[in-house]
Symmetry: C2
Subunit: 190 residues, 2 copies
DNA sequence: GTGTTTTCTTAATCAAGATTAAGTTTTTTG
DNA sequence: CAAAAAACTTAATCTTGATTAAGAAAACAC
């Protein structure tokens, strides 16, 4: 299953047979049960996580006690709290499995080893982050320039399967609307 | 002035004297006049830009014809449209100087040369992007969990000088409110 | 330094979506 | 499979902040 991560890396940089063997030896997939936490707010985030299968969510519990979705993590995406992982300070976020999931976690020690032995990975992670950051700039555009209804229709058009897969109230939160409002929009069935 | 960029890089990675000399030779600062564009929507973004002095803005003109701020670029920050720069496709954004500004532009050819001769820069850019992406996740938190008024008070508390420096309607747009609303909030003077 | 453009303010009206409060359906669990 | 928990729906009321429309004040340009 580490092969899936290796394949993802090889889309960006070249890996020798040794590199790959080293990765296979160092890394192993982890199975997560639905609702299992990787870390909770108040704890530091100790790794970066690559999603092989299933769905994770990064969210924050706000001052009113309601959960706000920040980011979904699905197939072949990295998800983590970079701030906390880097600083080793407690995270303000929670990272939880939405469905049963398979991930590869890379903690600090493993990251050190990997980046030392396979320096091309610096480039790989740079490219991954450029894509993620670019996508997040587009998300600001959607948030500010579309209504809640438009955001939902756009999103469910882009990820029709995903919308079926995770609870609606998580989609609502990710889009910045209430579940009640989303329900109303869906009922229109335009 | 390239020294300022070098200093920024040396906070993250080690550069040899040759590395620095090479950078000084390859790169040069560019002066921008207030309102000058680096690229407009429809044109590809051909470089990444490091702000030495002054302020840039990345914004998008929406379907109603109004401008929506996406990102400010100030002192020691990188700003670009990574999507467009990477794909060479037209950008949907505009990148413009808000004030007179001094920047260092790194185009694709220069980037190639730099990353080949100074491979540590891969790591530097990775770290820069982790910070930027981490900050953008926090911005989603602020957008979703704070009212427009709270966002303004929080922002102007965090960057009191900056709020004085750029037109209010740009701050309003960045925070996702209208200039009229921001004016009302400021009038309260609580 | 005066005319023009840009920016900011005030105030009335309006709308998108939140809140509240049940009630219903679906899923999970023992 | 029955009870409990989780997820979804409906509808009435309410609120934040948008829109519209002037007008005032700064900033710029000739």
């Amino acid at each position: 299953m580490v092969a899936q991560l290796i394949a993802h890396i090889e889309k960006q940089v070249t890996l020798s047979a040794e590199d790959k063997a080293f990765m296979e030896e160092l890394l192993a997939p982890t199975l997560l049960n639905k609702k299992q936490f990787l870390f909770k707010a108040g704890e530091p985030c100790r790794a970066r996580y690559f999603v092989l299968e299933g769905c994770l969510r990064l969210y924050i519990t706000n001052s009113k006690g309601t959960d706000q979705m920040i980011q979904f993590g699905i197939n072949n995406w990295w998800i983590t709290d970079y701030m906390s992982f880097k600083s080793k300070k407690p995270s303000v976020f929670n990272l939880q499995a939405v469905t049963n999931a398979t991930i590869i976690a890379i903690n600090e020690a493993q990251q050190e080893e990997l980046l030392t032995k396979i320096p091309q990975l610096e480039r790989y992670f740079r490219l991954v982050l450029e894509t993620a950051y670019g996508a997040s700039l587009m998300r600001f555009n959607y948030i500010f320039n579309m209504s809640g209804e438009e955001r939902y229709r756009f999103f469910s058009n882009l990820f029709p399967d995903f919308v079926q897969l995770v609870p609606q109230y998580l989609i609502a939160s990710y889009l910045g609307v209430t579940p009640e409002f989303l329900s109303k929009v869906r009922a229109k069935k335009v």
